[in-house]
Symmetry: C2
Subunit: 456 residues, 2 copies
């Protein structure tokens, strides 16, 4: 893993034997496959904790060494951390060895140096290594043994629960941060002064799952924060900058009496794209990634087209709750732990199945199928060399709706065997299109198909 | 009412005394108010059938004479007809005196001549009177006694049921038409040949309400249809053109086994705008109109800002089912009968209520508040003289999302007393934005607020 300062190696004690062994594997496909155990027919259960050795921060990459090797059918307990934990370190980091190892940062080094797909010498903007071109802490990747380009990876989310605060002062409680940030849809359209302001609202939820709602704890307006390297962050422009609470004014009693329904989900989960070595974690695409659809939660199943050997599945950006559109830029960003099961569908077995020809991330829930459209279905390919910066100037719900329409048609014709005319009529009278997000560069529209419409 | 040929006056027998009396009222506000009965404190129940004397076709207008006068609190049983009934006249018109009077059309005249807000001499395109610039058969208007600009009209939809087929061959059944039409989002993006085609799919549903789903009966591709005046309609370009079924090829067995969930609603309901004398019924706006949100159904309550004296509420475009986006251009277009209650909120009483300052159509359901954003909040005012044509070249979900954001903020701050920062955070983590429609010129995005989030 990149940039682990010797300061923090003590945290490698957190890494169980299986994950550590992953790091002994050399790059290169033959060597990578060597990490695979022989399939026994009995699913193995892997533990994948989140710490500075098992996360990559702000990017997907086909070059990241696997954190775990899994055969089709294996289960993985996967810890994920919110990259907003430093908005209130007392509540979301303190006393939590995994989180502390990831967020560790002093004048001598960082637990995880590279944060984003940008230059590691911060030569572009001076923000820091990786420049924050991509922000999500991603746990993994999971190398799925036998997975090759053209296959489809099914990922079942069997469980997903908030990570309790490790601070004894907050026992039994969990917290999350909502940042109404400069990349939000609202930012240049505010009516109160100052007209451009970033607001952090800390939410609290029940760590035991006994309550199905979150409430706001307090809020503060972002003030310039100086990171341990001395860089001043006027806005929220680099992930994991510790917020000095002596510099902000906390507002209590916000959203009094308001209960936000809990919708635990992975904001970001996906396989490694093939198009570039380091891919900004913010814009979603055919490989999944930062889809930010709150339906990708417990009981949900994702299907991804595999683009590189081993698929290299990573997950992070856990959300306790989010609305369709994620309007202000973030959800209730809350660390969570999931149990997932990976099931590999080989290219040769896809014909006649619902995922034949699948070239986008498809969600299945108990009651629904959900297709994901984006402003660009595959912006990495469509926008050429400058794709990773250009995508941010090409955000469009109109274009995402166009893409969602095409994917819905494709799904109904492939998975349900409809003619084009049948598909078009049905999607007009019986399927729903919603705004997934308007804050991730490659904006999203999802299309929802109710399973109950079909007799078979 | 415009253009009622003497051929069809026999149908005036369908009009009950109360509605007929409305037509004796002269235009002009003093005279209009004269149609109002003294409020007794006991709600009156008015019957408003749909026939050639009680509908206006394809436009809202402050100049249409009231079909009924209602005091605040009165109930109205209102029949509404789908303008697509002539796609299968045997199933949707035959034997139904009200529908026959409206759709009547032979070489000598039409039951309702003007169809649309265009020129009545068809001088623009030669399609026919009104040119089909606006297509919905609207029943009404209801003159709400005492309503003035600045007031808010609440309309409760107490009931809404499909109109049974009057043809004995189809007893107990109801039918609707879905047109995948040239104005659909899919039209220039088809993969099968012919690349541009319009497809009518006739759906069947249970008229008794015993089944909560519709099924497709058959479909056909639109062929050029010659109307009784001899005008050939290459595409679906004028409402109510009788389809000669000997010229189309019916395809049976379409969407076999598929059950479309029933969502009965008014596609179009609204008050008369003040900005123009004849307003195309297709683009929705601040006055409501063709919102095409399937949530505007039984149990729903709409709030409209009143723009002209008497409010002049009309309803039509009934839908048995529709998905969010209405992608192909129409829903399952099915004649239906509703029971509505009108409640007037005077401008002087609005302060401190949820509808203070309301300048858009707001929906309340049992569990939700729904704000309606459009590409242009008030296109009639914003786009100037050519607004009614220009709006079709300015359709944008992006713009509608912008408008929906602002309305959601306004609602949360006004109705729920939140600060702007609270509203922005809550809408990101707890409210949902969806694509209402992408086919009505002034495209729509709706924002949904769950009532259960609020303790009071």
């Amino acid at each position: 893993m990149p940039g682990v300062s010797s300061t923090w190696t003590g945290n490698s004690l957190q890494v169980p034997a299986l994950a550590l062994s992953a790091f002994a594997v050399l790059a290169g496909s033959a060597a990578a496959q060597d990490g695979c155990a022989e399939a026994t027919g009995v699913p193995a259960h892997h533990m994948l904790p989140a710490n500075s050795d098992t996360v990559h921060w702000g990017y997907f990459s086909k070059g990241v060494e696997p954190a775990v090797f899994a055969n089709s059918g294996d289960l993985i307990t996967i810890e994920t951390l919110t990259h907003h934990a430093n908005d209130d370190a007392e509540r979301m980091i303190a006393g939590d060895p995994g989180a502390e190892s990831v967020f560790a940062w002093d004048a001598d080094g960082k637990g995880v140096d590279r944060r984003g797909a940008g230059p590691t010498d911060a030569s572009a903007l001076g923000r820091g290594s990786g420049e924050g071109f991509g922000v999500h802490i991603l746990t993994g990747p999971v190398f799925v043994c036998g997975a090759e380009p053209g296959d489809v990876l099914e990922v079942r989310i069997l469980d997903l629960r908030p990570r309790p605060s490790a601070n004894p002062d907050f026992a039994g409680r969990t917290f999350g941060s909502n940042a109404a940030a400069w990349w939000g849809f609202h930012y240049n359209d505010l009516i109160e002064e100052p007209a451009q302001r970033e607001v952090i609202t800390i939410y609290e939820l029940d760590a035991t799952g006994g309550l199905n709602w979150a409430k706001a704890a307090y809020s503060y307006v972002w003030t310039p924060q100086t990171d341990p390297y001395g860089v001043v962050h006027e806005t929220i422009d680099y992930p994991g900058v510790p917020v000095d609470h002596s510099t902000v004014e906390k507002k209590e009693g916000v959203l009094e009496g308001v209960r936000v329904p809990i919708r635990p989900h992975f904001g970001t989960m996906g396989v490694a794209p093939v198009e570039a070595d380091f891919v900004d974690s913010i814009p979603p695409g055919y490989f999944g990634g930062n889809i930010d659809n709150w339906r990708i939660g417990r009981g949900g199943t994702m299907y991804y087209p595999v683009a590189v050997e081993g698929a290299l599945l990573s997950a992070g950006d856990p959300h306790a709750a989010q609305g369709d559109s994620e309007l202000a830029g973030t959800a209730i960003e809350t660390s969570m732990t999931g149990v997932i099961q990976v099931v590999l569908h080989k290219a040769s077995d896809l014909e006649g199945t619902i995922v034949e020809g699948l070239d986008f991330p498809l969600l299945e829930t108990e009651d629904e199928w959900v297709v994901h459209g984006f402003s660009y279905a595959n912006y990495l390919e469509e926008l050429g060399e400058a794709a990773q910066s250009d995508i941010y100037s090409k955000s469009s719900i109109d274009a995402a709706m166009r893409d969602a329409f095409r994917k819905m048609r494709s799904f109904l014709m492939t998975a349900k065997g409809l003619t084009e005319d049948e598909a078009v009529s049905l999607m007009s009278v019986g399927t729903d299109f919603g705004v997934t997000q308007v804050v991730d560069g490659n904006w999203g529209v999802h299309g929802v198909v109710q399973k109950s419409m079909f007799a078979d």
